[in-house]
Symmetry: C2
Subunit: 245 residues, 2 copies
């Protein structure tokens, strides 16, 4: 028996998110099917992040245990032949049996992309959120800096979260602009339900001038979801990856 | 009567190219339908570039003549409400009745994108050509520089072209790399059938080491399609735009 770790990239457009559920097509289900087809075992993966419907990933992580004699490094190639083209395993390797993608400590990085121009750009409609009103990127970056550090992020957590604690540490939250695309890149030790999308929605309000950057500390301290901005749409969000300690 | 110029962006994935044809869905057809629906006139657009199936555009140009009283600048907004989300008019304006998108002189810019990494990236599968073997970007850039200037590009023209002359001027052909994406950006006074895709296919051969950069002058001089590399896949190609004199 060995434990195999997969790094998985996907375009979330055509899926009802990561987590397996009845009457819906999910990333987790497609992975289970591909691994079961490859190994002949009834495999169920355990994932690091249950991304929502429409959210993309360059490197979500999951594990499964298997008796297969195929070397762990070769599994990526074999699975990619069994997966649809919008799910691609980027890496496969053996890990110790006590490694758990969710409970082992990691730094997680997400990127929220806003296409900020007069008209939508068809080729980027699936992985950016189109917003036509010109946003002030400098103000957004200033506001983002207040999020860095250890805080109670209850204001940035959807009401239906079941998290035990809403305290998280954000190591960095940077806002940059490349051509027409504003990128909010945030790295932390963990994120609450919808947290990055609520951060993005709040920073869009800052970029519009509806919220001043200096109001961010009060929004955090409020510990009240209604103090922050709206939840930005799922398709602008991409999980970049996880670095385990 | 006025002549209206449209700048049109599209994701070519779901279309059989620009040019209208029976039993196929094309960009031109969708534009004709939207304009006819808006103006009540039986309108047929005239386009600048008949891009192939799967090729994208950030700014193809077309014109149509209309009696509509709607100001030309407002037409973009009205058409976008009638177009599918993978075709978006970026600009509409009135032009003189002697302006012709194909015969009026212009500088045309195309970009061919190669995703050069070990595994495909699902979120960029529609607008980049995946190539896993590591390419030498410096050699590709060196080879590309030989294409600049006025040349007979017959070696870079598909056999079924009906062009009167195969002489064209390339003002610049630059190869750059951003993260995993190699971009071949080429600007010229006009391009032969499949010319940019054959340039891309030839530069990939250079990047692999199959063709030395110094061989490029001889490939051009051969005036023989078989001297150049293969035609790279359509979906890696994006028409960036046209600048009229």
């Amino acid at each position: 028996m060995k434990r195999v770790k997969l790094v998985v990239a996907y375009d979330g457009t055509n899926y009802s998110g990561w987590q397996i559920q009845p009457n819906a097509v999910t990333i987790e289900e497609k992975l289970n099917e591909a691994i079961t087809s490859l190994t002949g075992e009834n495999v169920k993966v355990t994932g690091a992040s249950r991304t929502d419907a429409g959210v993309h990933s360059l490197g979500n992580v999951c594990i499964f245990d298997t008796e297969t004699r195929m070397p762990a490094e070769k599994i990526s190639f074999a699975l990619n032949q069994r997966l649809p083209e919008d799910i691609v395993v980027q890496e496969s390797c053996e890990v110790s049996m006590d490694f758990h993608p969710r409970f082992s400590k990691s730094r997680k990085t997400y990127e929220y992309r806003i296409l900020n121009r007069k008209f939508p750009m068809p080729t980027r409609r699936l992985d950016t959120y189109f917003f036509h009103y010109a946003l002030d990127v400098e103000k957004m970056a200033e506001a983002a800096s207040y999020l860095e550090g250890e805080h109670d992020f209850k204001s940035f957590c959807s009401a239906n979260s079941q998290a035990e604690t809403t305290v998280r540490t954000i190591y960095s939250c940077a806002v940059t602009k490349e051509e027409d695309i504003i990128k909010i890149r945030v790295t932390g030790n963990g994120f609450l339900y919808n947290m990055v999308r609520i951060i993005a929605g709040t920073l869009v309000k800052v970029g519009c001038g509806d919220i001043a950057p200096e109001q961010m500390p009060r929004i955090i301290e409020a510990c009240d979801r209604s103090a922050a901005g709206p939840t930005a749409p799922a398709h602008g969000l991409t999980m970049i990856g996880l670095d385990y300690e």
